[in-house]
Each structure stands twice: as structure tokens, then as C-alpha cells.
């Protein structure tokens, strides 16, 4: 009836768990955010085992 009930462009796919629903693009961005956060904690930082101005490493 309404022309707009069929959107002319692709709408994202949604993942649904009961009342929880999220679009794939949003899920990807949030996933990347969590992944970067985790990686920032575990990846070794370059130079953190190198020399510095006073102390030295064991």
C-alpha cells in the first residue's frame, strides 16, 4: 500500500535474542571496540622491555 513499506535500500540484518536485538553493523562496531580493549591489555607494548633512563630490566 505505502510505497515506503518496502525500503529502497538494504536494511541491516538483525540478530535477536528474545527482547534483545541488534543490527549487524552495530554488533561489528561494538565487537571491534571490545576486541581492541582486550588487545590493548594483553599485547606487549613495544619498548616496555627495553632500556630506560634510570632503572634496568630483569
Amino acid at each position: 500500500m505505502l510505497g515506503i513499506t518496502d525500503p529502497p535500500v538494504a536494511t541491516p540484518t538483525f540478530i535477536e535474542w528474545g527482547w534483545f536485538s541488534i543490527s549487524i553493523p552495530n554488533l561489528i562496531v561494538i565487537g571491534v571496540m571490545v576486541l581492541l580493549f582486550a588487545l590493548a591489555f594483553v599485547l606487549p607494548f613495544p619498548g616496555s622491555h627495553g632500556k630506560d633512563s634510570t632503572g634496568d630490566e630483569s
Binding site: V32, M33, L36, F37, A40, F41, F45, G47, G55
Partner: protein, 221 residues
């Protein structure tokens, strides 16, 4: 040091002089632009603050181009659409980096040692950025802005804020989005960074324990 007076010797006699002296004492250049950093500042989590600022710079650059050409340019020009895409993705990156930065600073308890002001300005910058983002969605002059304005007005109206911050008013939102909120964010971000330089990066939670352990080991050896 022959011609220049040292900060401590300088006796100010004017408002200007008093402000200069307190600014120089609080934030001398070697503190503002240091060449060293405490050795514990060595983790990838530390890069997300500066990445957030870099994304903000991209937002401002792309937004400035959009504002010069006007609010409907990007619908008609492919160059304009590309600049809009730059604006869109720099905003996505800005929030992504900022949230990681916030999580990281929470787990470091970065407010310790008189650094509460740094934490508070950071959270306020986050909250105002959300308002700035919302006003940006409202000034796209497309279906998305019609929808966002229609949906968002109810929450704002229910709190009374909508009486003065009207997401359905394109003219008001445009000015709020391209001048007022960016100006507020810029001021808060500058204050945030100055507070970091003023107090330095927060030491590790177990810094004293490490010091104590090393002292004991030194005595034993």
C-alpha cells in the same frame, strides 16, 4: 638565565603578572611538553586518549568543510557525500576510542592522587559528545534527521530540557551542532589534557608495593 627573571623571583604587580606567575609555576614548559614519561606508561591502553583527540580533529576538519558548503550540499554533490562519510566515520571512531579510553582509565582508577578533575572533565566531555552527536543526526536534513528528531524530542521534553534544546528545530540544532557544542567540547578537552599534564599520568595502583619489594630485595642482596 642572564636576562630572564626566574619565576620564583618575579614579583607580579598586575593581574596579568599574577596569572602569568601562577600559570608558569603550575605548568612550566617542561611539564607541558615533557621529553620523558614515567616508566610505567607502557601499554597500548594509553594510546586511546590521543586517538580520541585525533578522531576529534578529523571530525572538526570534515565538519568545517561541511559547514562551509552548507547543510544540504552533501545530498547533491559526490564530493560532499564523501566529506559526509569522513564526518560519519570519524564520529564512529571518536566514540569507539573514547569508550575504550574511559574503560581503560576506570580499571587504572586514574582519579587517584588529586586527579578527580581529570576524570570528571573526561566524563562530561563524553556526555556532551553524545548531545553533539544527537544534534548532528538532527541536522542531516534527510529521513534520518526527521526520525531522530521525532523520536528524541519526547525524552528531552519529558525532562523539560526540550523547551530550550529542541531537536525538531533545524535552525537551532544547526547552530548548536556547528558552534556551541563543539566549542564546549574543545574547551573541556583542553582542560582535560592540561589536568593530565598538571598532575602527570597516574602511578600504578601497586607502585608502593613494588617499591617496597625492590627495597627489601636490595637489602638482601
Amino acid at each position: 638565565m642572564s636576562t630572564e627573571q626566574s619565576v620564583e623571583e618575579f614579583v607580579p604587580t598586575t593581574w596579568t603578572g599574577k596569572i602569568r606567575k601562577s600559570a608558569q609555576r603550575a605548568l612550566p614548559y617542561d611539564k607541558l611538553m615533557p621529553e620523558t614519561q614515567p616508566a610505567y606508561v607502557a601499554s597500548w591502553i594509553y594510546v586511546f586518549g590521543v586517538l580520541t583527540i585525533a578522531a576529534l580533529a578529523m571530525i572538526i576538519v570534515s565538519g568545517t568543510i561541511l559547514s562551509i558548503e552548507g547543510p544540504t550540499w552533501w545530498h547533491e554533490s559526490s564530493t560532499g557525500h564523501f566529506v559526509n562519510s569522513l564526518h560519519f566515520w570519524s564520529v564512529q571512531l571518536f566514540f569507539l576510542f573514547m569508550v575504550i579510553h574511559l574503560w581503560g582509565k576506570f580499571w587504572m582508577a586514574a582519579w587517584r592522587g588529586n586527579r578527580a578533575r581529570t576524570w570528571i572533565t573526561g566524563v562530561i566531555a563524553f556526555v556532551i559528545s553524545i548531545a553533539a552527536g544527537l544534534s548532528g543526526y538532527a541536522v542531516q536534513t534527510n529521513f534520518d534527521s526527521q526520525w531522530v528528531a521525532f523520536e528524541a524530542k519526547d525524552g528531552l521534553n519529558a525532562t523539560g530540557v526540550g523547551a530550550y534544546f529542541s531537536v525538531t528545530n533545524l535552525g537551532q540544532m544547526l547552530m548548536v551542532h556547528i558552534f556551541l557544542l563543539p566549542a564546549v567540547i574543545a574547551i573541556i578537552v583542553v582542560a582535560h589534557v592540561l589536568f593530565v599534564r598538571l598532575r602527570g599520568v597516574v602511578p600504578p595502583i601497586d607502585a608502593a608495593l613494588v617499591e617496597e619489594r625492590n627495597r627489601v630485595e636490595e637489602m638482601q642482596s
